[in-house]
Symmetry: C2
């Protein structure tokens, strides 16, 4: 039975899983759950994932969610997956787990907060909360500093690795989500982090051509969002 991947290419962990499957020749059926249209809240999807989030995989009679757990499961299940994605050496594997665990309350929290406050709420006409926006930006900048000065200090990929692991895939997908910000804000936040920017490029290259293809929807939406935001700011001038 073909692996089913319930996902939305607008979701950063969904993209990580899609790129991973394509890179490793894992056959799968992609089932889009449009999160901007709220399809994650339908009774049908709730029966698959009661947390109402994407991604979820269904492999035969086994349903699994949480993207890190999914990437580890797929790495372990398919013998054809190259070992650099999820190293079998105990210490190297522990380093990958450490980055993935760090991600949750740092890079992901900051990134989601910045996008919600600067893109999603304004586009939905919700009054801005400058304090929340500022806190999210502080969390994100702290996380980017840790990426720049710690996780990327010993090599081109996270935790001093010479080839990408599932952690690189997941965290780069997160950084890519910042493309949804205005160009000015995006550049102001990211431009001080030279190693981070280089690592994004290195991960793109290492996962070509799948990276660009899977991010196509994000780039298209970025264009639409920026036009909408420009129109909105025009109206209020």
């Amino acid at each position: 039975m073909t692996l089913k991947v319930y996902c939305d290419r607008m979701s950063q962990p969904s993209r990580a899983i899609l790129i991973f499957c394509k890179m490793n020749g894992i056959e799968f059926e992609e089932i889009t759950i449009n999160i901007l249209q709220g399809e994650q809240h339908t009774p049908e999807y709730k029966a698959i994932n009661p947390m109402c989030q994407v991604p979820t995989i269904v492999d035969g009679d086994f349903t699994l969610f949480e993207s890190h757990a999914i990437l580890i499961y797929l790495s372990s299940k398919y013998p054809g997956v190259a070992s650099h994605w999820y190293p079998s050496d105990l210490v190297e594997r522990a380093k990958v787990h450490s980055v993935l665990d760090w991600h949750h309350a740092n890079l992901r929290r900051g990134s989601v907060g910045v996008i919600v406050n600067n893109v999603m709420l304004p586009l939905n006409g919700v009054p801005s909360n400058p304090k929340a926006a500022e806190e999210a930006e502080t969390t994100l900048e702290k996380a980017l500093t840790v990426l720049e000065t710690f996780w990327l200090k010993d090599g081109p990929f996270l935790a001093g690795r010479s080839q990408p692991s599932i952690a690189d895939l997941n965290l780069v997908s997160e950084v890519m989500e910042l493309e949804l910000l205005s160009e000015e804000l995006h550049d102001r936040i990211l431009s001080p982090y030279k190693k981070v920017l280089q690592w994004v490029e290195d991960t793109k290259s290492a996962t070509a051509p799948h990276f660009e293809e899977i991010h196509g929807v994000l780039f298209k939406t970025r264009k639409e969002f920026r036009e909408l935001m420009a129109a909105k700011s025009g109206k209020t001038e």
Copy 2:
């Protein structure tokens, strides 16, 4: 060389690691980093863990932080660790990873927020922020509901398991941190969740006598905090 565990028994993930080591006969040296006194910010500790958080382990020349990653590493490294802590079966292991990943942005985020807003800030004389306190309580209650109705629906331990895994140890330590709240708030928040309360008791029993011993400092601090809070509220009446 003996495993070094840098920790504070007032920190929930520190307690999980200490109980795990004691349960599995892993020899270690416990080095206390007093977080209430800010010892995690000393240059000496920052050289060990630049994130300035506990716990951290040092195993020979390998330094590792993030408690989930540590528990997985220790489970994999020591052959004497009973298999229920971190199952080798691919599907069972994936379920444990899924719970651990879910933990970060849900139970942990809610629990930390509730404690910071209701205990730490008031004890430090910082004016309360009712909106932040309310949001944290909502996050915590949602997480407790998911524990009650989903993660504990199929068995006494998380993800339908008949014996505790590293996920039970970590998440129960988190729930135990709520002991620092006033008795009234603690009971109001937790009493609706009967399965959660039973699971805490089952995990305590399964890890006796180490659970009670390692939580001794928390119980002592709870008494001190409640006296301090009572004295403070007396002053303002």
